[in-house]
């Protein structure tokens, strides 16, 4: 994989607490799976940076290799790979996601 892409990914996930590599943007997701993760994060009032992999074929392929994960979307929290749409949804439904995010001080709920 291209070093510049590895560096860019490493930089994004270290500079931003919550990063979602997705198809489309948070306002206009281009794929149902990406939209689901955006909905969950928005519902939890989590601030996140959405990165549209459709704008960059190198990044689209690179993030799959970086995470050893074949699909988009991919959620990173504090530099840690959390999973794709299925895992985010499952963790949200079981309450694990809310717990993990509030332990890291990343949800609005944690402040309320």
């Amino acid at each position: 994989m291209d070093n510049a892409i590895t560096e860019r990914i490493t930089q994004e996930i270290s500079e931003n607490d919550v990063v979602l590599f997705m198809k489309g943007t948070p306002v206009f997701p281009q794929c149902g799976f990406s939209a689901t993760v955006v909905q969950v994060l928005s519902h939890l009032k989590v601030k996140f940076k959405g990165i549209d992999v459709l704008q960059d074929p190198g990044l689209r392929q690179g993030i799959k290799e970086f995470s050893s994960w074949p699909t988009i979307p991919q959620l990173y929290v504090k530099g840690e790979f959390f999973g794709g749409c299925d895992i985010v949804r499952e963790m949200f439904q079981s309450g694990e996601l809310q717990q993990a995010l509030s332990e890291k001080g990343l949800t609005a709920e944690a402040v309320e």
Binding site: F33, P70, T71, F82, G83, G84, D86, E90, M91
Partner: protein, 79 residues
């Protein structure tokens, strides 16, 4: 290129022989599946690691021939 459910199950079982695999064709179009996989190989692993094992079993088909496979994985419940 759609895949048929038997092929998906076969690939998963080839890599995880003890796996109990249930596959649902979500839209009846041979392109959107959900798979429930239970295997001892998942014990002590995170969900990310469990899903990675299934993706490895699918040998690069996920995201290519196999457009959508909603995954749910777990280790067998303790008796």
């Amino acid at each position: 290129m759609p895949m048929n459910p038997a092929d998906i199950e076969g690939l998963i079982k080839a890599a995880l022989p003890d796996a109990q695999v249930t596959i649902e064709d979500l839209r009846g179009d041979g392109d959107h599946y959900a798979a429930y996989v239970v295997s001892n190989a998942f014990k002590g692993k995170t969900r990310v690691q469990q899903h990675q094992l299934v993706y490895q079993a699918l040998q690069g088909r996920m995201g290519n021939e196999l457009h959508a496979l909603a995954l749910q994985t777990s280790a067998p419940a303790e008796a």
